[in-house]
Amino acid sequence: MNTLMRGLLGLAGGIALAVSASAQAPIPVAHLADRSGATSDVGVPYAQGVDDTLAWINRAREGVDGWPLEVNTIDYGYQAPRAVSQYQAWMSRLKPVAIQGWGTADTEALISFVTRDQVPYISGSYAAALTDPTGKATKAAKATPFNFFYGPSYSDALRAMLMWARKDWDARGQTGKPKYVHMGANHPYPNSPKAAGEALARELGFEVLPPIVFALTPGDYTAQCLTLKNQGANYAYLGNTAGSNISVLRACQTVGAKVQFLGNVWGMDENAMKAAGVAADGVVFPVRTATVWGQEAPGIATLHQVSAISDPAGTAYRPVHYLAGVCSAMLMVEAMETAGANGGAIDGPRVRDGFYARKNWVPRGFEGVCAPSTFTPEDHRGTMTVQLYRAVVTGDTTRGSVAELIGKGTIGLQPVAKIELQRRQDWLGW
């Protein structure tokens, strides 16, 4: 009897809590994550960064302008059709004010939907096709007025790497035309910067080889590496995420292909370096944040608070993708704050306008962590600055955690160059 009474009291208390919570009218936010699909190797840390940040906003800053965020995170397994049906389910029930998205295929499939429903969509996809809000750019497929992302587009990052590669070729005193090859799965994400990269490579005097296809999932890619070796490629772009790139790096090391690999933003990280071992040594890739975990910056203290949400002990090492997740979630939060300032309504169009409110925008408290972004109603390329790092692996990575290996200096990230691209109008949208 006693337990029954206690149960009833608890139930009543729960209902009372639920009622009082609903009285605060939380801001619905949807989050589409890949935790089990082909890109889950990098999707997991990124999604953790987003979720931790939004939870931290609720806890440490009492939500956005006093309104708590109600975050609904769904794992869609990197399947575009599931993303679209999930989106429709959200729009009928949760009615999110903004969405944190993920992959290129699903983000591009959802363009017309989010434009129609006026929902700002902050993707983990940096496809250049998402950067033209007006649709006026000559090579843009369609207008994407509600799509945003944090960091340089895939195309711009590749352009920067090619510019670096050209200088590197000359600096090494090589003669003749360097050979460039695009590698990746036949999928919208690796395909996204292919045309832009090959066009610029020709412009810069590279010989462009036929692209090499390898799947998004890890596998045996010895055949691809033999092709690479036989073609005599000098610079190869790795279009896939870290897990599948590791397979290529290892196979190419075995085969003995002497190639300078250029990874994409999702193509390399600290976990991949540990997994690939010395095969990953020398890969050049863009890092979107101003710092990486373990460096010093004014905003690092805030970053550690965010990280403590899912790691109270404070022992976890956060790879570059976690930091990128934090920064893209913070952009959304601050755009919402702008929309809600002075009692304004926090709705889709006003949150979108919130993205235009600042120049060289670094979220408050994350100075030195997030790189500055600038969005305008005509141009959603948040940044044209590309920071290139080199993966450095000096020894055996099989023993010890990533944090220990970094502490010992077995693996590390070495800044290589900071490339400032021109904001060329003819580069918009592709």
């Binding site: 575009a80 036949n186 999928h187």
Partner: protein, 354 residues
């Protein structure tokens, strides 16, 4: 027309034997059910409607597979590929300027043609060999979708339009529901009647014993291929409905796992039962939703913490589907359709069941 079914077999004509709704009440129940369905968009919210739409379009495809598996005794694990073909074909016809509502049956016909081609091996093969042949169909079509840029938009997929009726865009769940309902009613009526025709009986004869059927004069090759064609027709129709509902079609959706889900639908629903196809689809569509609700309720609760489920709680969904198939195969191999008959009989005879 009797009010009750007699306790015994007193049917004297073929006509009486083939009656689909034997009592007045069953006829009324059907009409009332249909009227309730028509009224559904007025009372249900978008979420419930979207589930019903999903049941409708997947149910049509499952019905097609049931003709193949349940009535003809063949097997196909390439059903999702035909479903996908219908989806892309309908999107293609619509892009060529064909009204969407017309593009749907056209796409179904196109899928029938493809199904007949891939059904040709079925005329000669059975059992495991046929499984492998249809597996090949699955992979050939999937690869075709991924590469044929003009047809499927390649790996990026293609965006489709909502149907339009006299200038009214059927782009909301409430309106699209009627499109799906219409096709569901037409398809299920057609198949319920098909199995009462000479061709339908021939299909069943092929299933029950192919040698006897052949001795009776049933052309095995013809009917096996035909059943592939019919199955593909409904797969294509379901796919076309899917394409214009989701308004985005991508090769990623039509994997072999989806084919297996169709098989699961007809097995759970009941092989060789028209109504079972719909029951099985209901089950397969609603099960993940129920599990999701349970998972949401468990999230953060004592069980979640005790078992350290955390973020993997979402995988309960996938696991439950697998478990459901096994449990059905063990405990109710004749599917929900038989369970439904048993429940009806129980109440009809209550309290004097014999």
């Amino acid at each position: 027309m009797s009010v009750m079914t007699p306790a015994g077999d007193y049917r004297e004509s073929y006509h009486a034997d083939m009656c689909i709704f034997p009592t007045r009440n069953s006829r009324w129940a059907m009409l009332v059910g249909l009227a309730l369905c028509c009224a559904a968009p007025l009372v249900l919210d978008r979420y419930a409607l979207s589930l019903m739409i999903n049941i409708g379009m997947l149910g049509i495809a499952a019905l097609g597979l049931n003709i193949l598996v349940g009535f003809t005794g063949q097997i196909s694990i390439g059903h999702a590929a035909f479903f996908g073909f219908g989806a892309f074909a309908s999107a293609g016809f619509a892009d060529l300027g064909v009204p969407v509502l017309l593009a749907m049956p056209l796409a179904a016909l196109a899928t029938t043609a493809v199904g007949l081609v891939f059904g040709l091996p079925a005329a000669r093969l059975k059992g495991l060999y046929l499984v492998i042949a249809t597996l090949a169909a699955q992979f050939i079509l999937e690869d075709f979708f991924a590469r044929a840029q003009w047809f499927s938009g390649g790996v990026a997929g293609r965006v489709t339009d909502a149907p339009n009726l006299f200038g009214v865009a059927l782009d909301t769940d409430a309106r699209y529901f009627y499109v799906v309902l219409l096709w569901v009613v037409l398809s299920f009526c057609a198949v319920a009647n098909l199995v009462r025709t000479r061709d339908g009986r021939a299909l069943i004869a092929v299933r029950d014993h192919y040698l006897s059927a052949e001795m009776m004069g049933v052309d095995l090759a013809y009917y096996r291929t035909l059943s592939f064609g019919i199955a593909s027709f409904f797969a294509g129709l379901g796919g076309a409905l899917y394409a214009h509902y989701l308004r985005f079609v991508s090769v990623e959706a039509f994997t072999i796992l989806f084919s297996i889900q169709f098989l699961a639908m007809v097995i759970i629903g009941g092989l060789g039962s028209v109504m079972g196809s719909l029951l099985g689809t209901c089950f397969m569509v609603l099960l993940p939703e129920v599990v999701q609700a349970v998972a949401d309720a468990l999230q953060g609760g004592a069980i979640d913490r005790a078992l350290k489920l955390g973020s993997s709680i979402a995988f309960l969904r996938e696991m439950t589907i697998g478990a459901a198939i096994i449990l059905f195969l063990v405990f109710e191999p004749e599917g929900l359709a038989r369970r439904w008959r048993l429940i009806k009989a129980y109440w009809k005879l209550y309290p004097y069941s014999y």
